[in-house]
C-alpha cells in the first residue's frame, strides 16, 4: 500500500492509542470514601509494662558485674499485651488484645483501625490496659463527639500527655 494511503489508517491508530491512554489515565472515577459517612481512625503505638517486675540487685551482685555493665536492677525483656476497648453509644466497637512487637516481645504494641460510622453526635468511650491488672483500666476517656460527614475523626494516644486524644 502506498505510504500516503496509509496516513489515514495511522491517524486512526494513533487516535485510538491516545484515547485509550488519556481515558484510563483519569476515568472512570473511583469512589473511595462514602461522603455520607464519617471515618474513624484509631491509632496508637505504646509499650505496655514489663511482663515481670524488675528485681533490685544486691551490692554483691552489682559488684560481680563488669564495671561498664553495672546497674541497680535486672529486668526481663518481655512486655505485656495492650488491651483496648472502644464503645460508641454504649455499643462495643473494638475489643483488641495486641501482643508487643519484636522477636523477644519487648517492643511497643501497635493498633491501627479504620472504619466508617454515621455522622452526628456520638458517645465515645475508650479504655486501655497496659499493666498486669485484671480489673479496671490504666487509661480511659469518655466524651460526646460530633462527627461530620466526609471527615476523619482520629483517636490517638500519648501516655506522656495523659492518655487518649480525640481529634
Amino acid at each position: 500500500m502506498p505510504e500516503l494511503r496509509r496516513i489515514p489508517l495511522q491517524v486512526i491508530a494513533y487516535t485510538v492509542f491516545a484515547v485509550g491512554v488519556g481515558y484510563f489515565a483519569t476515568l472512570p472515577h473511583y469512589g473511595y470514601g462514602d461522603p455520607e459517612l464519617a471515618t474513624i481512625k484509631v491509632s496508637l503505638s505504646h509499650a505496655a509494662n514489663r511482663a515481670k517486675p524488675c528485681i533490685k540487685m544486691t551490692a554483691e551482685e552489682i559488684a560481680e558485674l563488669a564495671a561498664n555493665m553495672r546497674r541497680t536492677e535486672t529486668c526481663e525483656r518481655q512486655r505485656l499485651p495492650l488491651i483496648l476497648e472502644l464503645d460508641i453509644d454504649n455499643e462495643p466497637v473494638l475489643r483488641l488484645h495486641v501482643p508487643p512487637s519484636g522477636l523477644w516481645g519487648d517492643g511497643p504494641a501497635s493498633i491501627y483501625e479504620r472504619f466508617d460510622v454515621a455522622p452526628g453526635a456520638h458517645l465515645f468511650a475508650v479504655r486501655l490496659r497496659d499493666t498486669a491488672r485484671t480489673e479496671g483500666w490504666d487509661y480511659a476517656r469518655t466524651d460526646e463527639v460530633f462527627l461530620a460527614a466526609g471527615r476523619y475523626f482520629t483517636v490517638t494516644f500519648e501516655a506522656e500527655t495523659g492518655g487518649f486524644i480525640f481529634r
Binding site: 500500500m1 473511583y30 491509632s43 503505638s45
Partner: protein, 515 residues
Amino acid sequence: MVTLKRLLRIVFDRVETLFDHAFGQHLNPLVWLGALGWYFFWIVAGTGIYLYVFFDTGITDAYQSVEYITNDQWYAAGVMRSLHRYASDALVVIVFVHLLREFSLDRLRGKRFFAWITGVPVLFFIYLCGISGYWLVWDQLAQYIAIATTEWLDTLPFFAEPIANNFLNSGTLGGRFFTLMVFIHIFVPLFMLLLMWVHIQRHARARVNPPRQLAIGTAITLLVLSLVHPAISQAPADLDVVPAELGFDWYYLFAYPLLDSIPGGQLWLYTFGGMLLLALLPWIPPARPAAAAVVSLDNCNGCARCFDDCPFSAITMVPRSDGKGYDAEALVNVDNCMSCGLCVGSCPTATPFRRATAIVPGIELPGHPVGELREATLAASRQFVRGRRVLVYACEHSGAATIADDSTRVITMPCVAMLPPAFIDFALSRNLADGVAIAGCAQGDCYYRLGDRWMRERLAGDRDPYLRSRVDRNRLRFWQLRAAQRGARRKAHAEFLAALQELPKNHPPGRSRDA
C-alpha cells in the same frame, strides 16, 4: 499454557496484520514495542528533569508548585507535566503488550529466559516510579495513595509502628515520608535504567530506538493528547477530609481498589505470587534446547563474520589456540547460543559447491549440518513432479511449509539467515530448480531477531557473504510474511510461479543436473 499462547497468537496475528496495513511491516509498532518502551522512558525522564526545576519538594509547598507548573506555565511546564504523565501511562501499556507478545511468540523459554526474568523487576520498578510520582502532587489522589499504600505496607510484619500514622490527620502530617517518596521517584528510575540495560545484555544490536517515523508519530500523539486533555491536579490534600470521588490512573493504580474487598496481606500474596509466577514462566514447561553451534578450527580462519552476525552475543573472538597462522578463532558461549544458525549462514566456508571432501564449515549447527542441507537440496530437486520447479528455503516460524506441492519443495531450517547465499547460486546454477524462494518471518520481526535483516542485506550485496551477481534475480524471491498470512503467501507463490512461466526453463550453459 500452550493453548493460552495459541489464543494470544491468534489475537496478535490479527492486530499485527491490521497494523501492517496502516504502518507497513517495517514500521509496525508491535514489532518495535521494546524500542518504544525505551523511547517513552526517555520522554518521562526528560520531562521529569524539566519539572523538577519548578517542583518544591516540601510537603507543604508541593501542591502549590504543581499548580504553578500546571496553570501559570501551562504552555511549557504544564505540557511537560502532561507528557510526563501520558508517556508514563503509554510505557505501562507498551510494556504489558510487549510482555504478552513475547509470551505468545514463546520467546521466553530455554536460553531466552534471561531477557524475560530481568524484565520482571523492571515492571515492579515502573510501578514504584509511577505510584511515587502521583504521591508528589499532594492532591486528594496523592492523599488516597499515601493512606492506602501505608495501610497496605502496614500489613507486612516489618514495621514496629504503623507507618500510616504519618498521614493520620493534619496535625500528625510529617514531611519525612514525603521526602522518601521524592527520593524514590528520582533514584528508582536510575536503577530501573540499569535494569533495562541488563535486560538487553544478551541481545547484540538491541533495538532501543524506534524508527524516526514512529518516534515522531507517537510524540505528536502524546503532545496532542497533552494539549487537548492536560494533566491537572485534584483538590489539595487535606488529611482531615476523606477523599471521595477520585480521578484514577487505572494503569498504575488498578490494584488499589482491591484493598477495599480483600485483606492487604492477601494482595501482597497475589502481587508477589504473580511476579514469581511471571518469573518462572520460562520454565513452564521447560524447553529442550537444541545443540549449540560448534566451531571446527580446521575450517575456521577467524574472519569474525559469525561474531558480527550473532544476534545473541553468543560468539566471541579469542586468540588462536591451534597454532595456525590466523589471529583469532570463534568461541561459542553455549549458554547464550539459541541454535538459530545465523552464524552458519555467515560463514564463507559453508558452501555447497565443495565435492572433494565432506562439507564441514568453520561453524556448524549439530542439529542442522550444512552437508545435510546440501543433501536435502539435491533430494528436493529430484522430487519435482511437474511445472516450473520452485525450491523454498523456509524458516521454521514462517508457516511456509504448507505451500509444498508438485512443483514446489520446501526445506525448513531454524532461520532463513542460516542459509548461506551460495546455496541459492548452487540450486540455480546446477539447474536443481527454476526458481528459489526464501520464506522468512515478517520484516523486522525475525524470531531470532536479525535473521531477516542479514538475509536481505546478503541478497542485496550489502553484507558478507554476498549472493553472487551471476544469480538471475528474476528467479529469486524473498517472502517476508507473518505465519498467519496464508493467503498472501499463496498469492506470492502463485505470482512467482507465473513469473517463472514467463522465463525460459532453467538450463544454465554447460551445466546439467548435479546429483
